[in-house]
């Protein structure tokens, strides 16, 4: 059981002049175990901040986040994170990047390499296990980053626009692969994206945030089976609805 519960959460960033910017306010959200959730919203609505609070990289000003019934107080390998920027350690080979978390846990070299190999294979990069990150393309780097997060066997996988820097084709392929990984590993995934198309393609539920200060504006269920057809009428209809919601709030 790895649900995430967010209760009356607010976040204010203090400014130089003593006032504060309210980034998030009264966020309430219940994420179920093994669910795939996408957070979308107008720019600056605090979706990344919300994700970082779940990760424990930021602390909420008020309210609480609990994962699996335990309050989040700081970063923890139980909540894996994939960043938007390339975050692989350039001084480590692919295999040692993926094994990093296990190394921190004190797992022996043999065993952690075996585990890492399994996840590298899962993301289809076995022939690159000994390569350094600079030798990989952008898409490959993000696949390694996903493998690195999964190798820790987290309860929840948090993804902050992980495919934002990739070209459209690579992005579509990565989405497909991510769904297959999700089906294999059955993690709870919270995925922040700018792309409504991506959100409709991936999620069980789309959480639309309102503009700053961000709070949950609407939650849209997408009960369709996968793989989904981007060209279908239903797909276009949901996409239009979400886009309109974001547009309205952006111009309000």
């Amino acid at each position: 059981m790895s649900g995430v519960t967010i209760r009356d959460l607010g976040k204010a960033f203090p400014k130089e002049d003593g006032t504060a910017t309210q980034a998030l306010q009264d966020v309430n959200l219940e994420i179920r175990d093994k669910e795939f959730i996408c957070l979308v919203g107008p720019s600056g609505c605090g979706k990344t901040t919300l994700l970082r609070i779940i990760a424990g990289l930021e602390t909420a000003t008020v309210g609480s986040v609990t994962v699996d019934g335990r309050a989040v107080t700081g970063p923890d390998p139980k909540r894996g994170m994939v960043f938007q920027e390339y975050s692989l350690f350039p001084w480590r080979r692919v295999i040692d990047n993926v094994a990093f978390g296990l190394e921190m846990k004190g797992v022996g070299k043999e065993e952690r390499r075996r585990t890492a190999d399994r996840y590298i294979e899962m993301v289809g990069l076995s022939q690159f296990r000994d390569a350094y990150p600079y030798e990989l393309s952008g898409g490959m780097r993000q696949r390694v980053a996903i493998a690195r997060a999964l190798a820790n066997d987290p309860d929840v996988l948090l993804m902050d626009e992980p495919f934002g820097a990739l070209d459209a084709q690579t992005r579509n392929r990565m989405q497909k692969e991510l769904l297959s990984l999700w089906e294999q590993t059955k993690k709870t995934i919270v995925f922040v994206t700018h792309s409504v198309d991506e959100a409709v393609y991936l999620s069980d539920r789309i959480v639309v945030l309102s503009p700053r200060p961000g709070s949950v504006r609407e939650i849209i269920d997408i009960p369709w089976p996968r793989p989904r057809d981007r060209t279908s009428a239903g797909f276009a209809e949901v996409r239009r609805r979400v886009l309109r919601m974001i547009d309205e709030t952006e111009n309000a």
């Binding site: 424990g56 700081g74 190394e103």
Partner: protein, 258 residues
Amino acid sequence: MNRQTQKRLLGVAALIVAAAIWQIIAEYVVGRSFILPSVTDVADAFVTLLGSGTLLADITISFEHFGIGLLAAFLLGVPIGILMGWFRVADFLLDPIIEILRPIPPLAWIPFAIIWFGLTTQAAGFVIFVGAFFPILTATYTAFRSVPKVFVEAGKVLGCDTSFELIRHVALPAAIPAIASGIRIAMGVGWMCLVAAEMFGVSRNGLGYQLWHNYYLHQMPNVVVYMLILGFAGLIIDRIFRNYVDGRLLRWHAGEVA
């Protein structure tokens, strides 16, 4: 003929021409070996010095001074740089002290080097240490300040719980290329301090000591020999270090280092 051989040939040709001009000026224009020793004077002096057998001792002693200074600069500069680069409080505390000490020329420390250490190897090492310490400190500090935030956060979510773990597994490896550049600069500065560090007579040997000693003896061709050896030794140290860093430490940095 490819670019590389062309470059070599031109370089050698230029050296020969320069030596010829030097020889002509020294022999026919100046005419006094004391003011400008000729190429052949210097070559003779070099052969004589090789025969006398002190060269090896000079080089060994100089490397000893250099090694002591650089090792001390490394052992103090890197940890202090890490502290200041990672912990805000350490930065605030130490920065004013460092800023006052840094602009003092290393050679200005010579009187206290002698008073504290006497005429010893350590005294010469100390002067070189002062020259090499600040480049290493500054490079380490700057490198730590500019470790990408995303690496540190990735380290945290992957299970680095303490500052020590983050420094050891994330910040330090990320900072190593910049620290290596700092060490390289420090070696250059330290080598420059060598002549002055040896001139106050901490030992009967050493390249810098011999340079001064031969000056007092008015053996100017010998002075030139020691000047050239100092230059070559500095060059070789730099090359060896760069090859080592490029080849062993930083394969991941793919040749963009130092």
